[in-house]
């Protein structure tokens, strides 16, 4: 039967396809999107697969509509997603803000290209790292996950849905064209073996329910359209009933809560991978595809006797501030190779706060880091230059 045709097993699979499969495995049943290289394969796969799982695929007229549409589907209680690249995210940002304010769970995939503007459609970059954090106007907590392989694109898409449901917000995946377009082995476990989190539906009766009442976890209970709750929700500053309230008091209660519901849970959300951190003199911090392209330089530095550790960020936002602050007391410095002219290195610098050196190895995108450049940076930091 078509309905049971969820994949599991070992596949030789493209990153974008793995992402689509991860979404389906997580329970995504609504995709709204607009084509753009290098993310289109996600939409194409969803167009093929969703109808067979009783889901909905719609190719909207633009990215603005796509983002608004997945928020609507989310309010109908259906897990929803969109996928795009830099210019598309720029268009989505207004409604990403609406999703943050309305607390609508959904997932936004950004398969990054070299930018600004239309930039490098067919090659890669990591140019939208800051945009994911600060793209929409205003303050809000934000979660961004960064895969470095097709396998991880699958895994982190499942995680993204889990975070979206648990903390009620649009969650980003910041992949890049290399991860999206490369084909590698992907293992898809049977659906029963995956951890799947669903949003907390209210157990209150319609008359007693307040759409934005919350407890210690700061995350309000959800009620979906059509269940008789007849709630109101708005992008305006609102009270616990969801009614607009233009007072400072209301803003003071609402906006910090949107930030803190993520900030307070950084231990749950922050995913990192580390090697040889203990006793390291230099730590290379990288994320996404860069974390793979810089490995040979790290190996070479080790062969030269330099004590190099390696920290990979799978979660970029919220930024693992505490971890880096603590490490900064013990090392000579950090080397941060990234495919932009220094976005995440700024964060590292902020956390290292003059305790240790931070050396950026920039790359504008479209290619990968040169072996020698990364090695040279490691050596310089190790020798206190």
């Amino acid at each position: 039967m078509f309905q049971e045709s969820r994949l599991h097993g070992e596949f030789f699979m493209q990153g974008d396809i793995a992402c689509a499969e991860g979404a389906l495995a997580a329970g995504c049943r609504f995709f709204g999107g607009y084509p753009i290289t290098p993310a289109s394969e996600i939409a194409e796969r969803m167009a093929m697969r969703l109808p067979l799982l009783n889901g909905v695929f719609i190719q909207y007229e633009d990215e603005i509509a796509s983002m608004a549409g997945i928020l609507g589907a989310s309010w109908a209680g259906v897990k929803s997603m969109t996928a795009t690249s830099g210019p598309g995210i720029s268009l989505m940002n207004e409604n990403i803000g609406l999703g943050m304010m309305m607390e609508a769970p959904c997932v936004v995939i950004n398969v990054q290209r070299g930018s600004p503007s239309t930039g490098l459609p067919t090659t890669w970059g990591q140019s939208d790292m800051m945009q994911a954090r600060w793209g929409s106007h205003g303050d809000y907590g934000s979660i961004s996950l960064v895969p470095n392989s097709p396998q991880e694109f699958f895994d982190l898409t499942v995680t993204a849905f889990n975070f979206a449901e648990k903390y009620r917000l649009p969650v980003f995946i910041l992949a890049d064209a290399l991860v999206g377009h490369m084909t590698e082995k992907v293992v898809i476990p049977p659906v029963e073996e995956l951890t799947i989190i669903n949003r907390k539906y209210t157990t209150k009766k319609p008359g007693e329910y307040l759409a934005y009442d919350y407890g210690k976890d700061l995350v309000p209970d959800f009620a979906k359209a059509g269940d008789g709750y007849r709630y109101h929700t708005t992008g305006l500053t609102h009270d616990r009933r969801g009614y607009p309230d233009m007072t400072v008091e209301c803003q003071e209660e609402l906006v910090p809560r949107l930030v803190n519901k993520i900030k307070n849970n950084i231990n749950d959300i922050s995913l990192t991978e580390e090697y040889d951190i203990e006793g390291a003199d230099v730590i290379v911090i990288s994320y996404g595809i860069t974390s793979r392209t810089v490995l040979p330089s790290i190996t070479a530095a080790k062969e030269k006797g330099i004590k190099v550790g390696y920290l990979r960020l799978k979660t970029v936002w919220p930024f693992p501030e505490e971890k880096i602050r603590k490490l900064s007391g013990n090392v000579a410095g950090f080397v941060v190779p990234e495919m932009n002219l220094g976005q995440i290195s700024l964060e590292v610098e902020r956390c290292a706060c003059n305790n240790s050196k931070v050396k950026l190895v920039p790359h504008p995108g479209g290619g990968i880091h040169k072996f020698e450049d990364v090695l040279k940076a490691i050596e310089e930091v190790a020798h206190g230059k």
């Binding site: 067979l52 603005i64 549409g69 609507g72 067919t122 709630y231 109101h232 305006l236």
Partner: protein
């Protein structure tokens, strides 16, 4: 001394629309003399008449004075971003096809910033109803030009009189493919109620324009007098002609306001078309791998493979 057992002079009765209005949000923010009050009253009457389940009815608004409608109705209600109510509503409806989904918003919201969404939702014939209050101006932001502002009319951004051709909303909705298209003024309470009720029970994309007085900014900029004066003017200018071609009845400062039900047809909705298309394919194949392998077997004229040569790949002009 007050006599507790005496009957109060004014008996407290529940508001007749209490089941559909959020009484805890009254008073509303609209100006006195604004047409929005009548538009909402008529909408409530229309929903009652349609007999739809209120629990299964959702209302989505964009931004502006009209955009505030969602907040005053006791339904599942969504006050979204400027111009984006239609795609939001499309997602809501497609994800839960049991719902009756109504978009209630202003002419600026739906036809300026949201114009692209409106024509595409009409083209797809998504099963939602769009009610557009046309007051010929941007009310909430202080009387700037709208895509409906008549030629020559004054607005805050047309201090010498508007020199842009206005949109004819019913013509645009009909041409884009709507299943149902009607225009009324706030004065046509009974006919408008009927249209709203009809649309609530009709499948496909239904569009209703409500010509409405903006007593504060449009009237002030154009010496239109009070809300009541504007209604009187509508009364003298409005005619009803169901046979009119919706593309031929634009509105200006002083012509006839042709009202009526211009389009009422049955055609497959977006979702029905999706279902038909998929069913036809699924009957041929027993599982999706088979379906997929079949689709990849279709020979391509020019097959492009992702090779290490940047030139080959870049020859696809993807932007």
């Amino acid at each position: 001394m007050a006599n507790n057992t005496a009957k109060p002079i004014i008996e407290e009765k529940p508001h007749p629309m209490e089941d559909l209005l959020r009484m805890d949000r009254m008073p509303h923010i609209w100006c006195s003399g604004c047409g929005l009050g009548s538009a909402v009253t008529t909408f409530v009457e229309g929903l009652k008449k349609a007999g739809v389940s209120y629990d299964k009815t959702a209302i989505v608004s964009g931004i502006g004075c009209t955009g505030r409608v969602a907040g005053y109705l006791r339904l599942d209600s969504y006050h979204t971003t400027h111009g984006r109510a239609i795609p939001f509503a499309t997602g809501l409806k497609l994800a839960n096809r049991e719902l009756t989904v109504v978009v209630f918003s202003g002419d600026g919201d739906l036809f300026a910033i949201g114009g692209n969404h409106l024509i595409h939702a009409a083209r797809r014939n998504v099963d939602i109803n769009v009610i557009c209050v046309n007051n010929f101006i941007y009310g909430m932001t202080g009387g700037q030009n709208a895509p409906t502002t008549p030629l020559g009319a004054y607005s805050s951004t047309a201090p010498y009189g508007n020199y842009e051709m206005p949109f004819n909303l019913v013509g645009l909705a009909a041409a884009a493919g709507a299943s149902y298209v009607a225009r009324w003024t706030t004065m046509h309470a009974r006919r408008l109620t009927d249209s709203i009720a009809k649309a609530a029970n009709k499948k496909g994309f239904c569009f209703i324009e409500i010509v409405s007085p903006c007593a504060t900014v449009f009237a002030r900029k154009n010496k239109g007098g009070s809300g009541l004066d504007l209604l009187k003017e509508f009364q003298t200018r409005a005619i009803i002609d169901h046979e009119a071609d919706p593309t031929q009845i634009p509105l200006s400062m002083d012509n006839e306001i042709v009202c009526g039900e211009f389009v009422n047809k049955d055609k497959p909705t977006f979702w029905e078309n999706v279902q038909t298309g998929i069913k036809a394919k699924l009957e041929k194949f027993s599982n999706w791998e088979e379906l997929q392998s079949n689709s990849t077997k279709i020979p391509h004229k020019k097959s492009v493979t992702y090779t290490s040569s940047r030139d080959t790949y870049n020859s696809r002009s993807n932007t």
